[in-house]
């Protein structure tokens, strides 16, 4: 079930009504979440149920003996590898251990990562076990973050789940903000991300005919993927607030980052911190040397890339980011003098590496990057040859960046206080109405959320 559909709005309205009217709020959300995921199909649902049940059992085993964590990790990562990386392993390593053709189950990367983080936290004494299966199930299954995050930690989400089931979770105080976030997310997805999709598709499918077309294509894809995923994340936040739950923020104006490190503190924040806390830090601590830490960073970023998909392009993308971070660190003092040049360089690194994220293979990505730097475009996707068209495109791109910058004002304390001050039935009806009109508009092309496929 996708958030940008009219039937999801009907599902949400029914769930919210039941949530408000019935006393068993935790169970209402759990049932709704099961129904939400069931639309993905029986196979995906059974797999998710099995993973949740197995992890539920593992928490008690880990409480008795920490070594059970390794078993849980093998099972979780093995499950992810089997369902997501089977074909990649086969072709990359010549393995042929699995015969069946499999489709990647919906949201598997997200729920495996969240459950794994929980078990690691539990083994470190940073989380408490869920004795109740429904509470444990809702910890992972809540439909506001089930399919594409944010990847929640126990300390952020666990206590909220308990308060929800205990009936002590405050609700309906943030409805205006909740609906406002859903509306902002829908605008990002429906108005911008989906509108950019056909242009990006054309440039990457036909290939850019010139360096300018290549830069335009990658910039538009960059905007598409940002508006798509941050739009989803805004809706997820809003859905959480609708039911009195606070989910983690996943984006903080990443295109305003001044350094590569800063970028990763702003882009897909919950995944970045997951990689840092459960991959990079344990790996870096194995040896206390600078070189080893750098090596750990490369490995962690390569795996972060691989998390996005079973393709060498994602690994190169991750390694590219690791190298960018390391090189930046080495030249930090000199680069700091660049001023706004730092932003240009960081945004440029993002755009160039994004070619790997979007291309079907490494060769295609390298050809695309070569075209960006004047290596001769072999493609057929041109820019408009009249000055007026070019000016409009430049204006549109500037508008997209301006929108990104203006988001800084949306997530401020002042805006939230203002929203709370004016929150009321009128504002809620206005936000809900605007969102409904966007959902009613039929889709010309099917553009599922990009991160659903991860």
């Amino acid at each position: 079930m996708s958030y940008d559909t009219f039937y999801f709005a009907l599902f949400l309205a029914a769930t919210w009504a039941a949530f408000v009217l019935l006393p068993w709020r935790g169970y209402v959300l759990l049932l709704a979440s099961i129904g939400f995921y069931a639309v993905a199909g029986l196979r995906d649902s059974l797999l998710a149920a099995a993973v949740i049940l197995v992890n539920y059992g593992f928490q008690f085993a880990i409480m008795r003996d920490r070594r059970w964590l390794y078993g849980a990790l093998v099972l979780n990562i093995g499950c992810l590898a089997y369902f997501k990386y089977r074909v990649f392993l086969e072709t990359a390593a010549g393995l042929d251990v699995f015969a069946q053709h499999l489709i990647i189950p919906l949201g598997i990367s997200f729920y495996i990562f969240q459950l794994t983080a929980f078990l690691i936290d539990l083994s470190r004494g940073r989380a408490k076990p869920f004795y109740s299966l429904p509470r444990f199930a809702l910890f992972k299954l809540f439909f506001g973050q089930l399919v594409a995050g944010p990847i929640m930690r126990w300390r952020q989400f666990g206590p909220q789940i308990h308060r929800l089931f205990d009936g002590t979770l405050p609700q309906r105080r943030l409805l205006g903000i909740a609906l406002g976030l859903c509306l902002v997310g829908l605008i990002k997805k429906v108005v911008f991300a989906d509108a950019l999709a056909p242009f990006v598709e054309t440039i990457f499918h036909n290939g850019p005919a010139s360096a300018a077309a290549a830069w335009l294509g990658i910039f538009l894809f960059s905007s598409q993927v940002y508006f798509d995923f941050s739009g989803y994340s805004d809706i997820a936040l809003g859905l959480g607030y609708l039911f009195g739950l606070r989910l983690a923020v996943n984006f903080r104006q990443p295109f305003a980052a001044l350094t590569p490190q800063d970028f990763w503190r702003r882009w897909h924040i919950t995944l970045s911190y997951w990689i840092r806390d459960y991959l990079f830090t344990p790996l870096a601590r194995l040896k206390r040397s600078r070189r080893w830490a750098d090596f750990a960073l490369v490995v962690a970023m390569a795996l972060a890339g691989l998390w996005h998909g079973a393709n060498w392009t994602f690994i190169v993308w991750g390694v590219g980011w690791a190298l960018a971070i390391l090189l930046w660190h080495m030249a930090d003092r000199h680069l700091a003098r660049l001023g706004v040049g730092q932003w240009v360089l960081t945004f440029g690194i993002w755009l160039v590496l994004l070619a790997f994220f979007r291309s079907s293979d490494v060769g295609a990505a390298l050809r695309y990057i070569a075209t960006m730097f004047g290596g001769g475009g072999a493609g057929t996707a041109p820019l408009p040859d009249d000055g007026w068209g070019g000016a409009l495109i430049a204006l549109g791109c500037a508008g997209l960046l301006a929108l990104h910058w203006s988001e800084g004002y949306l997530h401020t304390r002042r805006t939230i206080l203002l929203m709370r001050r004016f929150d009321g039935l009128l504002l809620r009806a206005l936000f809900a109405g605007l969102a409904l009109w966007l959902l009613l508009l039929p889709k010309v092309q099917d553009n599922p959320f990009i991160y659903f496929r991860f």
Binding site: Y7, H205, N206, L426, A429, A432, L434, L441, P442
Partner: protein, 389 residues
């Protein structure tokens, strides 16, 4: 308590009204600026009711077409996907081309459609020559005949071309007259044009005063267009997204021509054979009664598939025999395209952007269609036509 409740209701209503106004304002801004080439907006609603065919273009409607390829559309003064022109015959020869969305070509500019290209080519040799586009999305054989009879003959043409998708003879929808003209059998099993749609509640509404108000709103409000578009696709449309087009993968498959072999050679199924016979009979009658030369052009019979060459040849021969046997002229459009372009390049005439190879004719495809149609019309027209016949 009552006061509190009424204030709450009023607040909700005001909020909802502001949402309507905000949505209307947003889409109007998009529609009125170059943003319309990028951002989402409701698609132009250019069809209205028609007594002869069930539906047709409404005159002088303009707006953005979004499906497959964004394009600014304006229907003509005569209610056609055509340039404005007088109903009366001009000094030069006039041809009409009847067909479905392939001829309608809403994905490209009007001047780039096949009929417009054909007109430009013909006018070079015969000043004042006109080629009128009577293409209508979704038109099947019965609609083609009814449209030629009603709107085509009103233009006093010197020649008519009916471009036909043979796939239409393989779908039971051709027998359905609930929404637009279909072929239905009489008591003796002979098929005739049938207009069941005229008794439908939808048609009665669209032709009533309330319907006229509805169309006025449709032409003047973006939110009404959204509601209308949602009604057309269905509330739960996104639950079952349309299957991706796979024409390319099945075009040359061994059994792709079997339904046509059955229909055109073996005469099966009998009801579809009856429709085919009625279609040819009706066109022949128009040709005879109105002294109007008619060319029937068939498309969507896999050309350029070496493994199917024999089967295809037999089917085309059977169609040609039936059509020419009735005194009509025949054009194997697919064969002409492959001869002009080569089998490997023919797919490039369809689709836009990343979807080249699938869908409707693109600019190049319309140009090729236009060139072929111009050639066929030029050869079929009498050398000295008599205006206003």
């Amino acid at each position: 308590m009552v006061r509190k409740l009424s204030r709450a209701v009023a607040a909700i209503l005001v909020g909802a009204m502001l949402a309507v106004l905000g949505t209307e304002a947003f889409f109007r801004i998009v529609d009125a600026t170059p943003l319309r080439w990028v951002l989402p907006l409701p698609q132009v609603a250019m069809y209205g009711p028609d007594f002869a065919t069930g539906y047709r273009h409404r005159p002088n409607i303009s707006g953005m077409w979004l499906t497959e390829h964004r394009n600014f559309i304006r229907t003509s003064n005569l209610g056609l996907r055509d340039r404005d022109r007088p109903l009366a015959h001009g000094a030069g020869p006039r041809a009409v081309i009847v067909g479905n969305s392939i001829i309608e070509a809403v994905q490209v500019r009007e001047s780039q459609t096949g009929p417009a290209v054909a007109e430009a080519i013909l006018a070079r040799e015969r000043p004042g020559a006109e080629v009128v586009n009577l293409g209508l999305s979704g038109a099947r054989p019965a609609v083609d005949v009814a449209r030629l009879e009603s709107q085509g003959l009103a233009l006093s043409p010197d020649i008519a071309v009916v471009v036909l998708d043979v796939e239409d003879f393989a779908t039971p929808a051709t027998l359905d007259d609930r929404e637009f003209t279909g072929y239905r059998p009489d008591a003796n099993g002979v098929f005739h044009l049938s207009y069941g749609f005229r008794n439908s509640s939808g048609y009665r509404f669209r032709t009533s005063s309330a319907g006229r108000l509805f169309y006025w709103l449709l032409d003047h409000s973006e939110v009404v267009r959204i509601v209308n578009a949602r009604k057309n696709v269905g509330i739960f449309a996104e639950l079952s997204p349309a299957a991706a087009a796979e024409q390319g993968s099945t075009r040359c498959s061994a059994d792709s021509l079997d339904p046509y072999t059955a229909l055109f050679i073996k005469g099966e199924p009998a009801d579809m054979r009856g429709v085919l016979d009625a279609f040819v009979r009706d066109l022949a009658a128009i040709q005879h009664d109105k002294k109007l030369p008619i060319i029937v052009a068939t498309r969507a019979i896999a050309a350029g598939c070496p493994s199917l060459a024999d089967k295809r040849s037999a089917i085309v021969d059977a169609i040609r025999a039936q059509i020419e046997g009735a005194g009509l002229q025949y054009l194997d459009l697919d064969g002409r395209i492959v001869a002009a372009m080569g089998a490997d390049n023919a797919a490039e005439l369809y689709g836009f952007g990343a979807n080249v190879g699938f869908g409707h004719l693109n600019v190049a495809g319309n140009r090729v269609y236009g060139e072929i149609l111009a050639d066929v019309i030029a050869h079929a027209l009498p050398s000295q036509h008599q205006p206003g016949r």
